[in-house]
Symmetry: C2
Subunit: 223 residues, 2 copies
């Protein structure tokens, strides 16, 4: 599987994997992790497709972007598939993450157990509240936002999660970009601008509710 | 546009709009709302595509699933497009939503301003903590989970957001399904089972970080 990344780009150097496929990789990973927890050693595209509500052909097509993971007569070996997907996602080694903005959402993120299980460790938190700075919240050291530079370098932080109020988001993002952070998970319900080399994923919680409303409104009444 | 929904289903009664398209509808909606806030009256597929990082052809193709929204020589009228997308999403009228589980994440959701702006009103909160029940959190009445039936009927609640600990999620979901809730936004980092008529969207915050890690790791080094 060492050559699998060569197929991810076209001749123009553009990533050719559809975003939806990358989204499903995370879902496959979760399901196989659950199967392992339930004591299963192997799975197959039919089982994975059934768990995700997609066809077995879709599962095989999705995984084929990244290499050949099945074994004839066996299917997928669960541990092997988890390791392969984590390698593809880049989560086969731990990422140090910083959190900026310690409101209720920030606190919820600091105690969210799902991050650590998936290879992310929040190693530092930032705020501008003097009462928090120098202390710990949920076991994580709190720094002033102005100390980003030092802490990001010191702790090899490449990703940050931003949970500040909307009006503060862009200026925090500018500071984060300045110190060389490569990826931003933005929880502030506002669009932010970054230079092209920085990756942003915006988590818009209202959007999730909208998607849910759409699926409820557009249910096929015959089913 | 009254007939737009007829194109959403194939002869087998299956929804034919790709999930990614529905996802982008929310993004188009946000961008057009921002344009209106900036005083713009019209936009076009090139502008919208630029804001979202997709081609203008993709914008037109996405919207064409739902009808004909452009005007020759004008493009899209912003207010009209917002109204149309909200109609498609089902958010042209207010949805009453209940929140279950008042931890840090629940409190963050209760004060999250983005919901109300997009047509969602959290009208009731539920927990099992006797100290919270009967009071208000962030201005929202708190009830015991066992009173779901009464409150859901009384307030015409069709959607719930669930932010309880993982181990409690399935039993809460069972209660919610029992009282006729149609859609569940699940924040608990665990897969839940529901009958086929109930819609679920799982918000897995670690998955968002994974997707971010993937985009950072797989950046084209030449760009």
């Amino acid at each position: 599987m060492s050559e699998h990344k060569s197929t991810l780009y076209n001749d123009q150097g553009e990533l050719v994997v559809p975003k939806a496929v990358v989204g499903r990789l995370s879902l496959y990973l979760r399901e196989v992790q659950h199967l392992i927890r339930d004591g299963k050693e192997t799975t197959n595209s039919t089982e994975l497709g059934g768990l995700l509500g997609v066809t077995d052909a879709q599962v095989r097509k999705d995984l084929a972007y990244f290499g050949q993971f099945g074994h004839p007569g066996v299917g997928y070996r669960c541990q092997e598939l988890v390791a392969a997907i984590k390698h593809i996602m880049g989560t086969d080694s731990i990422w140090n993450v910083a959190l900026i903005g310690i409101g209720n959402l920030g606190r919820a993120l600091l105690r969210y157990k799902g991050f650590h299980e998936q290879g992310f460790r929040i190693v530092a938190a930032f705020d501008v509240d003097a009462q928090l700075i120098g202390g710990k919240v949920e076991g994580v050291d709190v720094f002033h936002v102005n100390d980003l530079d030092l802490v990001v370098q010191d702790q090899c932080i490449r990703l940050v999660a931003i949970s500040v109020p909307s009006h503060a988001a862009q200026s925090v993002v500018d500071q984060v970009v300045e110190v060389g952070v490569e990826g931003i998970l933005n929880f502030a319900p506002v669009t932010i601008s970054v230079p092209s080399q920085v990756r942003v994923i915006g988590v818009d919680l209202a959007m999730e509710l909208e998607q849910l409303a759409f699926t409820v409104v557009n249910r096929d009444s015959s089913s």
